[in-house]
């Protein structure tokens, strides 16, 4: 499964990427997770992702991200605030599974 995360500059999502990867390693799941800043998102989202996740602090730009992702046919979801932390990998993966199944 391929997951793309987007925040303002791509910095804080990089931390969350690590959290998701750690959680995936713990449960033995094969995942490819990557993060970008809002400016790169329209181009990056075309890279064949299964889902794009939007960081809570840029949720006010959700419509903009949805428009870009719709063109690439990628579903978009908001990351729940409590999942957006170095310890939030499990919360995010549970949310992703709920959305994709």
């Amino acid at each position: 499964m391929k997951i793309l995360l987007v925040c303002s500059g791509g910095m804080s999502t990089a931390i969350v990427v690590k959290a998701i990867e750690q959680q995936a390693a713990k449960t033995g799941r094969a995942l490819a997770v990557s993060s970008v800043g809002a400016g790169e998102f329209p181009a990056a989202v075309k890279g064949g992702w299964d889902i794009a996740l939007v960081a809570p602090q840029v949720r006010h730009r959700l419509a903009e991200f949805q428009a870009a992702a719709a063109e690439a046919g990628v579903p978009v979801a908001l990351i729940p605030p409590q999942g957006y932390s170095p310890l939030g990998g499990a919360v995010i993966l549970a949310e992703v599974d709920k959305l994709l199944n």
Partner: protein, 416 residues
């Protein structure tokens, strides 16, 4: 407290986010952000030309003019780069050809300048209008140019190529009629009618730039950014959309004064907030993270330790969403009051000349004392001020974090 969060959610956030997502402001934001690498690298040459160590300063003095060239041709032409990249982003937002938008914006901006005839050297463009001083003109001309491009496209005022002409060739003709409108228009206003667009726009925005330097002008963005972040919205990107052009004008004036060896005039370009107020991220959370790392609550300790290194690099989403600070009534007061207090202290310290006013843009992920030192051109007192501010924020967070810690520990006991 609940009322404050409800007000934020229903009043402030919708207004601020609508403002920050407005198409033209968004193009200005993205366009200006694209020029930041040039500004950061370019202004570093200023540190090299005027190193904080006297012995070094004496050694490089004969070469100052050469060392300053990269600075002059990047930072010194900031509005030129911005005009193109704002035009590009605005055109892209309309799904028009980005490069056409950028080139037209650049032409419209350059046409507001008057080349000067220098005996024996030919025509020269005065650089002062192409730097930060011309920023508002660059924004205006980029918008005018791209709106004309859009109008022409919407009304189908384009030269259409017959079938079979390659796409790229056809696209290059699309900008022909808009260029035929924009160039004569700006030329007529500036060069025939003699209306000095540069002067008029600078005059128009002068009060805003002056206001940005006052104590109130410093506190307003601090409070707005803190309030937005307390609701979990990226405050600096929202507020910066509107404030950054002004911060860049202030920075440009400071850097010009520094390059000329004069006293630095402005207190409040962006590094003011970056290195002395939002230490560890918005809300000045570095102190909070340190306290959390030593907390008796295992949960707070875990988040605090995980958030420490990002915090040193001024990334604080882990603590904002992890603690959480977002919508947390117990941490709201120090999160908003701390930065405001630090802003007041820093403003007075600089106003009274105790610390050099910042004039160099350095990457925002550096630890605050280092960033503060470099941003002030190597003033050791900036390190002291940053340290004092960290301490103040920490002390202010302490009682509130303790109360929150007690609440968490009690909840832990109550749940078997």
């Amino acid at each position: 407290m609940e009322k404050i969060f409800a007000w934020l959610d229903r009043r402030l956030i919708p207004v601020m986010t609508r403002l920050s997502e407005q198409r033209h402001l968004r193009a200005v934001r993205d366009g200006i952000i694209a020029t930041i690498p040039l500004i950061i690298v370019g202004s570093f040459f200023l540190i090299i030309a005027f190193p904080p160590v006297p012995a070094l300063a004496a050694a490089v003095k004969p070469y100052t003019a050469q060392i300053l060239m990269p600075f002059r041709l990047t930072m010194g032409l900031m509005a030129l780069y911005a005009a193109h990249s704002i035009g590009y982003h605005l055109a892209r937002s309309y799904k028009l050809d980005g490069v056409a938008g950028g080139v037209l914006a650049l032409a419209a901006f350059l046409l507001t300048s008057l080349p000067v005839d220098i005996e024996g050297k030919g025509l020269a463009l005065p650089m002062e209008n192409l730097g930060g001083g011309g920023m508002f003109v660059a924004i205006l001309m980029a918008i005018v140019a791209v709106e004309i491009l859009r109008f022409a496209k919407e009304k189908k005022l384009t030269i259409r190529m017959p079938e079979g002409v390659p796409d790229s060739v056809a696209r290059s003709f699309e900008a022909l009629i808009p260029a035929g409108v924009i160039i004569p228009l700006v030329w007529a206003v500036r060069h025939l009618a003699g209306f000095d667009i540069q002067h008029a726009v600078t005059q128009l925005f002068a009060p805003l730039v002056t206001a940005g330097n006052t104590l109130a002008g410093v506190l307003a963005p601090i409070l707005l950014i803190s309030l937005l972040w307390s609701a979990g919205i990226h405050g600096d990107s929202v507020v910066g959309t509107v404030a950054r052009p002004m911060w860049l004008v202030l920075l440009d004036q400071n850097i010009a004064a520094a390059a000329a060896g004069q006293p630095i005039p402005n207190i409040a370009p962006e590094p003011f907030f970056q290195w002395f107020v939002f230490i560890g991220g918005s809300g000045a959370t570095l102190g909070l993270v340190c306290l959390m790392a030593l907390s008796q609550s295992p949960y707070l300790r875990g988040v605090g330790r995980a958030a420490f290194l990002p915090g040193v690099c001024n990334i604080n989403e882990p603590v904002i969403f992890g603690a959480p600070v977002m919508l947390n009534p117990l941490l709201f007061v120090p999160f908003v009051a701390g930065p405001a207090l630090m802003g007041v202290i820093t403003w007075f310290a600089m106003h009274l000349g105790l610390v050099t006013k910042p004039y160099i843009l350095v990457p925002w992920t550096l630890p605050a004392p280092i960033g503060a030192y470099l941003a002030t051109g190597g003033d050791w007192r900036a390190i002291v001020l940053a340290a004092v501010n960290i301490l103040i924020a920490t002390v202010l967070y302490y009682p509130f974090l303790k109360a929150y810690e007690r609440k968490l520990l009690k909840e832990q006991e109550d749940t078997p």
